[in-house]
């Protein structure tokens, strides 16, 4: 009993989908630790986590969408719109902070529901829908903000940027919220019937429908929940930047969220993947950016490296998909 149990456990560990990404993360960390002593320090890790926080939360929504064989290109701009609404309402329009935050989150949820409605109702490809809403949200952000940056924000809007201290290292509350959201997403995907239906729908929508699953409802819930994560990310973004900036979160966040999901081992073909993998993927992206900055590589090379990483990860996915059929 004992030895076979151990063997089973070892086998399960080796074949677990998060092992590959995890090894990649460890190797990346070893590499940068050898390159510079400034990397392997508690304060630096805390910084990496803060940098990862926004993309990390967006990537939860992105994971849900990609698990259903969709993609969301609008994550960054929808978040930026939510952020501008939250800050503008509070600062310029004198709306109390709680309704201002709620309206910002609801805007993002609305975009998510719109994606879901178009995917299920009109049966348009998610790529095109979200390419459209990317532009719509981008335009609305600049129209609503009038290209102004909002400062002097109420305390509650800045809350997630506040820090607490564990043995000399500062952590933000936003990082804690991110980890809580990952735990919730893990629970939903692995411990509830809804999670099973998300995987089944992503794997083969028609087969899932014939099995008796209401796939339209599953897809609608996935896109709407994804919108909710963008809304929460918008609030986190304010905590991180301390202002409402119409130009924030629009360039790197879109691609980085997809990069995190793919590096985390979630298949673009749908039906396979984990949120824990996505967290590791987001950390890989964060560690790369942080490490390259520490060893003095210019920002433009970081784009180069992330681009190469994505293509590598997608190639592995494609290879595995072909092998498994």
């Amino acid at each position: 009993m004992g030895p076979t149990r151990t063997l089973q456990l070892v086998r399960r560990l080796i074949t677990a989908p998060t092992v590959g990404p995890f090894i990649a993360l460890v190797l990346t960390m070893v590499f940068f630790s050898l390159k510079t002593d400034r990397f392997f320090q508690a304060q630096n890790f805390s910084l990496v986590l803060q940098q990862v926080m926004i993309v990390g939360v967006l990537a939860i929504g992105q994971t849900l969408v990609i698990l259903t064989a969709g993609i969301d290109l609008s994550v960054g701009t929808v978040m930026a719109l939510g952020q501008v609404i939250m800050t503008k309402l509070a600062v310029a329009n004198g709306v109390p902070v709680v309704p201002a935050l709620l309206l910002g989150v609801l805007t993002c949820v609305g975009f998510g529901a719109l994606h879901g409605g178009l995917v299920t109702g009109v049966r348009l490809p998610p790529f095109i829908i979200t390419l459209g809403t990317l532009n719509i949200a981008f335009a609305l952000t600049h129209i609503i903000s009038n290209d102004l940056t909002f400062t002097g924000l109420p305390k509650l809007e800045l809350f997630w940027g506040r820090t607490f201290n564990i043995s000399g290292t500062d952590f933000t509350y936003g990082v804690v919220l991110m980890l809580v959201l990952y735990a919730l997403a893990w629970y939903g995907l692995n411990q509830t019937a809804w999670g099973r239906h998300v995987y089944a729908t992503g794997d083969n929508r028609e087969a899932a429908r014939l099995t008796g699953i209401n796939t339209n409802r599953v897809l609608l819930s996935v896109y709407t929940l994804a919108g909710l994560t963008y809304g929460i990310a918008a609030w986190l973004l304010i905590g991180r930047t301390q202002v409402g900036d119409p130009n924030a979160g629009q360039t790197t966040e879109n691609l980085d969220s997809i990069t995190a999901v793919v590096l985390g081992g979630t298949s673009l073909f749908g039906g396979r993947g984990t949120v824990i993998g996505t967290l590791i993927g987001a950390l890989i992206v964060g560690v790369f950016r942080n490490g390259l900055t520490l060893i003095g590589v210019s920002v433009i090379y970081q784009y180069l490296v992330t681009g190469v990483l994505v293509i590598l990860a997608v190639s592995v996915d494609q290879f595995l998909h072909r092998r498994n059929g």
Partner: protein, 266 residues
Amino acid sequence: MSSQKPILEARGLVKKYGQVVALNGADFEIYPGEILAIIGDNGAGKSTLIKALSGALQPDEGEISLGGERINFRSPRDAQRAGIETVYQDLAVAPALDIASNVFLGRETRRRGPLGSLLRLLDKRGMRREARRQFEELGIGVQSIGEAVGNLSGGQRQGVAVARAAAWARRLVIMDEPTAALGVKETGQVIDLIKRVRERGLPVILISHDMPHVFELADRIHIMRLGRRVAVVTPKTHTMPEAVAIMTGATPSELDNVLTKKGSPE
């Protein structure tokens, strides 16, 4: 059989896709406890017929009744609720999920108490236990009920799909070419499974291209051509070449009529 009423019956089903007429006034009936095979050339309307019976599509015209009552399935879920389960060729299972999850897909059971009702926590252990029992009853050998279905052989996958159908069907099981993608040995296993499903008293609708299997398994054979039923024969009254001749339309139409009368239950 003449004293029994059909469990599932359809009259004058029509389904059109633009100019294409998939079903052109098709009739159908299956009696309790029998295996009814449906044969027909490609495009004869077999799959459209069973999709109408399993709720996967809605016919444009005609009526379907189950146990004597008119029904109108709007989705596969409606048919499942009425006790009809369907096994599809190769898209019956979710490969990324384990065996027990597949058997319970769409009908997951939750833990008792607040864990289940409030936190929606799945009763994974209970579902595994139940799935294992089901597999033992049907005589399907599987090493681990927690294995992802994607890691199984084609025959084992089909076994999962059949077990799933047998576990939930209360009235009827429909199988659409369950052996089409399988090797000889695996086909044999699935055929044994179909027999065991009938032994449980469940009628089975079997669509197949494989004439020897059809003649081995079926009590009656429903022959489709050009979107309608042209004859119902039995392995006792007709030979394989005769059935194929009716299916392909090689016999004169007068003979079709004779054969239909000879084969159908009066």
